[in-house]
């Protein structure tokens, strides 16, 4: 029972749920995972950490950014059986630094490597495109109401 009408240059189609149940035959171009232009997720194709990932919030850029980068890098490249067990020193200095800025780093989550940092989640950041389905548009806008 879908129908469509034309108003000048604008076309309007009303579709029922049933009509939209059939899978789409629209063709989309395959994404190139190594596209240098695309925004990358947390881990770059070459295995490095993308410090500019919106998912990190301001963790890598704040006053404790250097400590955070050291700790997280160590964890990422750690080959120990218990990953990161050789990075205790790094995490300790990071925690010390963070304690100096309680406003920025609320002390409820400590050793998470990708924490929900203080006051800068949501609307400031765009969605990382590497995982379009899993990451809802949480970081994009407060529009859903």
């Amino acid at each position: 029972m879908s129908y469509c009408k034309q108003e000048g240059k604008d076309r309007i189609i009303f579709v029922t749920k049933e009509d939209h149940e059939a899978p789409s035959n629209a063709e989309l171009i395959e994404d190139d995972p190594n596209d240098p232009y695309e925004d990358q997720g947390l881990i770059l194709p070459n295995g490095d950490i993308n410090w500019n990932c919106p998912c990190l919030g301001g963790m890598a850029s704040g006053p404790c950014g250097q400590q955070f980068k050291d700790a997280f890098s160590c964890f990422h490249y750690s080959k120990e059986e218990v990953k990161g067990s050789d990075c205790v020193e790094n995490f300790r200095s990071m925690q010390e630094c963070m304690q100096k800025y309680p406003e920025l780093y609320p002390q409820d989550d400590d050793n998470d490597s990708a924490p929900s940092g203080g006051a800068d989640t949501a609307p400031t950041d765009s969605v990382p495109t590497s995982s379009p389905d899993s990451t809802p548009a949480t970081t994009e806008n407060p529009a859903a109401s």
Binding site: Y3, Q6, K9, S24, D39, G58, S61, P63, P132, A144
Partner: protein, 751 residues
């Protein structure tokens, strides 16, 4: 032809002779001020022109007198030039309050330069025919104080006098410099003069390309022919930021500088490896990006606002709907996911103080508030602030955003009207409007775009409880008339009306007057509206004041600084945010004034400032909420003048009673019958338009905007969390045969 030839034959000797004569005279009189007429005569005699001796004598006298007059005029102009310039400088310096001191300094300058006037006599002066007519006009005015006509002739003369002009500054470089430093200020600070100035100044300035900085002193002299200097200072005041002290500072600065350069305040660092001009969303995103990519980076943000970087969207949305009465103070709001946060991107403890920036171990981001960058020296890689301080940089970002536009009728309407008008952009505008909304009886919003409609809805919410009458008026036929297709714009307007707003469409304001302690708005069609307060939301004027001093291009179509696809304006300068007119590889050149674009472009600029060399690729999106029922997200070029295809979820019987009435048109028939009829129904509906639009409920759907059959923009109407798919479709840039198939990708029927 034959006749012409005979005439030419007769005249040729005369023509030849006179032209030779002229050339010889020109050369010789230029060198000896026409004192050697006898020599010239002899030369002419030898060539033997046709015609009698009497004619010749008259001829010689005329030419001789002309040359003599030219020589005299040229000499006097060149020497008088210096005097006029000095007089002009004294006049300019005496205008600001620091007059006496400045005048003293300039008096010295004048005295010194007068000594140099003598050598001008020997300067060669190419006389040309056009100048001939001016000696008479010029002489009486030479002694007058610089008047407009004098400067006009100066401009003409300058094009012929490039050599003497060039020589003058060369002989007195020391004298010119202190004065020159102060002159660029008036030149650059008044952006309105730029277009006019470019036209008139290009010729004289182009004529003396070899002369660099020293040529600038002449520029303001010429420029004043377009607008007298008092206007510069006066215009500068409205141009200046809301911080009034800056206006006073920058007025005094041009004069104050040559005498006692005001000691740069100790908290201003002299050098910042990364300098970001402007303290808004784009700037902050760039700062974050730079810090993430360049370990230990030292980033300095210079902003004329007194607040740390904050986000603007809540100022017209969430902050108005907050239950917290202290929200206005704290500027905290609840996000869509329930979490509360402040509009400031980071609390003050995130930032380093500007004075410590150079010393702090791992670098950081420092914010210098309440200062405006007024001059950019691209060659020297440094900027000058309104208080005279200079900061050198290695990489610079211009993220100056813009200022709200105002209606001309309001600007001309006088102070009482201006006092009752709000131009909404900053935190203080929000606080002031919030306060006013509690005090007045009626508010009128002029403008039907994003900001106007959002504010109307926000205020409309208050109208019911607070007894406030809210009116919104605009020239279009419906809210968001330039963004949404007509049917949707009409639907939206109805929604806004439901929020308690009285919407007046197709309203063009003709004038506004202050009457009986209120405002009266008269429209072009004669309608009259009375109101207590006006909010003008009629667009944003990008701030491109630095374009002149930095030598950056300003786009004539979209406004803003013109940059390439990597947001770069020139070697070490990038531009992001509202002020950037950039090249989008997929969608063409554009300028976008949305929050997410500021974030995306700021982040990209930061990446490119640290060597990434990436073009604008990740398409930014935007969103708007009009009350609790209507919310949409959009991406790409969303212009209602483009053809659109909208795919909406057809409401089923179980949804709303309205949907049921709509269905009754097609009848509650059996399924098979419906399907069989569906084909014919389609053609029928296109021929006979369905019943009135109000019955159509555009509850949820997706609208595609097409340009040459390619989707360039998408609006997701009340469907959320689908932006990545929309982004993908625009990135592909494919021509899709059936957009309904594309719409299937969005699953609009699900939540």
């Amino acid at each position: 032809m034959f006749r012409c030839k005979t005439v030419w034959n007769k005249l040729a000797p005369l023509a030849r002779a006179s032209s030779t004569l002229c050339l010889q005279n020109a050369r010789k009189s230029a060198l000896r001020h026409g004192r050697r007429l006898e020599m010239v005569q002899k030369a002419q005699m030898s060539s033997g022109p046709a015609g009698g001796g009497g004619e010749n004598t008259l001829y010689y006298v005329l030419i001789g007198a002309t040359c003599l007059g030219t020589g005299v005029y040229a000499y006097r102009t060149v020497s008088g030039d210096k005097e006029r310039y000095n007089e002009r400088m004294i006049e300019i310096a005496s205008r600001p309050k620091q007059g006496p001191q400045a005048a003293e300094a300039l008096a010295e300058v004048v005295a010194e330069s007068k000594e140099d006037a003598a050598p001008l006599e020997s300067i060669p002066e190419p006389s040309s025919e056009p100048v001939k007519s001016e000696p008479v006009a010029e002489e009486p005015t030479l002694t007058e104080p610089p008047a407009e006509e004098v400067l006009v002739t100066e401009a003409d003369v300058e094009s012929t006098e490039s050599e003497p002009v060039a020589e003058v500054p060369v002989t007195e470089p020391n004298v010119e410099e202190p004065v020159e430093a102060s002159i660029p200020e008036p030149t650059v600070e008044s952006p309105l003069r730029e277009p006019v100035v470019e036209a008139s100044v290009t010729e004289p300035v182009a004529e003396a390309p070899a002369v660099t900085q020293n040529d600038e002193p002449l520029a303001p002299v010429v420029e004043s022919e377009t607008e007298p200097t008092p206007v510069i200072i006066a215009e500068h005041v409205p141009e200046a930021s809301s911080v009034s002290e800056i206006a006073a500072d920058s007025k005094a600065a041009p004069a104050a500088e040559p005498i006692e350069p005001t000691a740069a305040p100790s908290d201003v660092p002299e050098h910042a490896p990364y300098l970001l001009i402007g303290g808004g969303t784009a700037s902050f995103a760039a700062a974050r990006s730079i810090r993430a990519r360049d370990p230990g980076a030292r980033v300095l943000i210079v902003t004329e606002e007194s607040d740390l970087p904050y986000m603007r969207p809540p100022l017209s949305k969430e902050l108005w709907f907050s239950d917290d009465p202290k929200a206005v103070e704290t500027l905290h709001f609840k996000q869509w996911n329930g979490k509360e946060r402040s509009i400031y991107f980071q609390p003050p403890s995130f930032y380093v103080s500007p004075a410590d920036l150079a010393k702090v171990e791992n670098g950081g981001v420092a914010v210098l508030t309440g200062r405006k960058v007024v001059h950019m020296d691209v060659r020297g890689n440094k900027v000058k602030l309104s208080d005279g301080a200079e900061i050198s940089y290695e990489k610079c970002l211009i993220a100056t955003g813009g200022v709200p536009r105002n209606l001309q009728v309001i600007e001309r309407a006088g102070e009482e009207v201006m006092k009752r008008t709000t131009l909404f952009r900053k935190i203080e505008d929000f606080r002031s409007l919030e306060k006013i909304s509690g005090e007045v009886k009626s508010i009128t919003i002029i403008g039907g775009g994003f900001l106007g409609s959002e504010l109307a809805c926000a205020l409309g919410r208050r109208s019911t409880d607070a007894g406030l009458k809210v009116v919104q008026m605009f020239p279009e036929k419906g809210n968001m008339g330039k963004v949404l297709p007509e049917y949707l714009s009409n639907w939206t307007t109805e929604k806004v009306r439901k929020e308690g707003v009285s919407v007046i469409t197709e309203a063009v304001v003709k004038n506004v007057t202050y009457k009986n302690d209120g405002l009266e708005i008269k429209l072009k069609d004669g309608r009259l509206f009375k109101t207590d307060h006006i909010v003008a939301a009629v667009g944003l004027e990008p701030s491109v004041e630095l374009a002149k001093s930095a030598g950056l291009e300003v786009d004539s179509d979209f406004g803003g600084y013109r940059v390439n696809s990597e947001l770069q304006a020139c070697s070490n300068i990038w531009v992001a945010g509202d002020a950037a007119c950039f090249y989008d590889i997929k969608l063409g050149r554009r300028r976008v004034e949305h929050h997410d674009h500021a974030v995306v472009s700021g982040r990209l600029a930061g990446e490119n400032m640290t060597g990434a060399s990436k073009p604008y690729w990740h398409q930014s999106m935007f969103w708007s909420d009009l009350g609790p029922d209507v919310g949409y997200e959009a991406i790409g070029i969303v212009d209602s003048s483009l053809p659109t295809v909208g795919v909406f979820a057809k409401a089923t019987a179980k949804d709303t009673p309205k949907a049921a009435t709509e269905l009754s048109g097609t009848g509650i028939r059996s399924e098979s019958e419906t399907e069989a009829v569906a084909g014919t129904l389609k053609s029928e509906t296109t021929a006979t338009p369905p019943p009135t639009q109000q019955k159509e409920d555009y509850g949820k759907g997706v609208i595609f905007y097409l340009r040459d059959q390619v989707v360039v923009g998408i609006v997701l109407w009340n469907v959320f969390n689908r932006m990545p798919i929309a982004r993908k479709i625009i990135k592909d840039g494919e021509q899709h045969g059936d957009l309904n198939e594309v719409a299937k990708l969005f699953n609009i029927h699900e939540d």
